[in-house]
């Protein structure tokens, strides 16, 4: 029914799942995220920041980019966009929401996820193929992985250093809410190598690296199968499609 990791994306059957992708002023990866949804077998639905209607979608992706130019703080102004009122309400009701990069920053600013992102500790923009360990494979967005899986997806950001106080970090660890951890090397100084986290219900996930850039052979990161063959990000979209189609 839905995509599996090894299936050729072009032959993936349609699942009927409608996944919204929000475009804010300054979003960059909304079209890539929509394409990833399509390759995983879902139907992408474009959502607009100024529209407070989610148009009945089954899940929402807040994509990467530099919404509102990262002015004030990354995600700080987007968090108050009309669409976010609807996203926050729906997320509290259990709607699966994924925030990628700038989307993760927006989820933190919106208090759907704890902590905040500050500038990388080395103060430079970074773009690389990043190894991650999947720590929690029971969220709406990670059920197609197995805990302990190592995946490689692109990372590209300026403000990617995840910070929170020790009490919050201890709570995240104790409740199994660290979803992804940087493997091999911590690229931005994030506390406890955290690359992605989830809320207590497991429907809201935020991560700094970009799964939507690793969904199609020929255009992904290098993998043992050859240059640019990596499609480790596809399972994130397949996971939510399975979750909402049932």
């Amino acid at each position: 029914m839905t995509a599996t990791a090894g299936a050729s994306p072009s032959r993936t059957e349609k699942s009927g799942a409608r996944i919204g992708v929000v475009t804010f002023p300054g979003s960059l990866d909304d079209r890539d995220a929509a394409r990833a949804v399509r390759l995983a077998g879902g139907t992408p639905v474009s959502l607009w920041h100024a529209d407070d209607d989610l148009h009945g979608v089954d899940a929402v992706v807040l994509p990467g980019g530099f919404s509102y130019g990262d002015y004030l703080r990354a995600g700080a102004i987007s968090r108050f966009a009309p669409v976010m009122g609807a996203v926050v309400d729906a997320a509290k009701g259990g709607l699966p929401v994924l925030g990628i990069c700038n989307g993760f920053q927006i989820l933190c600013e919106a208090h759907l996820l704890p902590g905040a992102m500050i500038k990388n500790d080395h103060r430079t923009f970074i773009c690389r193929e990043q190894r991650l360990t999947v720590e929690n494979a029971s969220t709406a967005w990670t059920a197609r992985y197995t805990a302990g899986d190592e995946i490689t997806i692109p990372l590209k950001n300026q403000d990617g250093q995840f910070v929170a106080d020790d009490r919050t970090l201890d709570e995240l660890e104790a409740q199994g809410r660290v979803v992804f951890r940087y493997a091999g090397w911590n690229p931005n100084g994030s506390r406890r190598d955290i690359a992605g986290i989830t809320n207590t219900a497991g429907n809201v996930v935020g991560l700094m690296p970009h799964p939507e850039h690793a969904v199609e052979p020929g255009f992904g990161p290098d993998s043992p199968d050859g240059p640019r063959t990596g499609t480790d990000g596809l399972r994130m979209f397949a996971s939510v499609i399975s979750a909402v189609v049932g």
């Binding site: 004030l72 600013e109 905040a116 500050i118 990388n120 500790d121 103060r123 250093q161 910070v163 106080d165």
Partner: protein
């Protein structure tokens, strides 16, 4: 015209990469003896007329909800400034 000045600083326990970059540049330009730099933000909010208690209260609310993120920043001051020409 009234003006309220809000100052926001990164929390002491949060690494301040921008301050660190400035601190590293100072000795290169011959400014020695500075053991640390932290960089914050200053906002100037303008209103028509006087800065009343209600205005100050509204600015304090804005400072906590939009101008700062309490996870990483502290609002260190909210002060009314009077225009000398008014």
């Amino acid at each position: 015209m009234g003006r309220v000045v809000v100052e926001v600083m990164p929390k002491p326990e949060i690494l301040d990469p921008q301050g660190k970059a400035v601190a590293a540049a100072l000795p290169r330009l011959g400014f020695h003896g500075f053991t640390g730099v932290r960089q914050g933000k200053r906002f100037e909010l303008e209103v028509d007329g006087e800065v009343t208690a209600e205005v100050l209260e509204a600015v304090r609310g804005a400072a906590q909800t939009l101008l700062s993120n309490p996870v990483i920043e502290d609002v260190v001051s909210v002060v009314a400034e009077h225009d000398p020409e008014a």
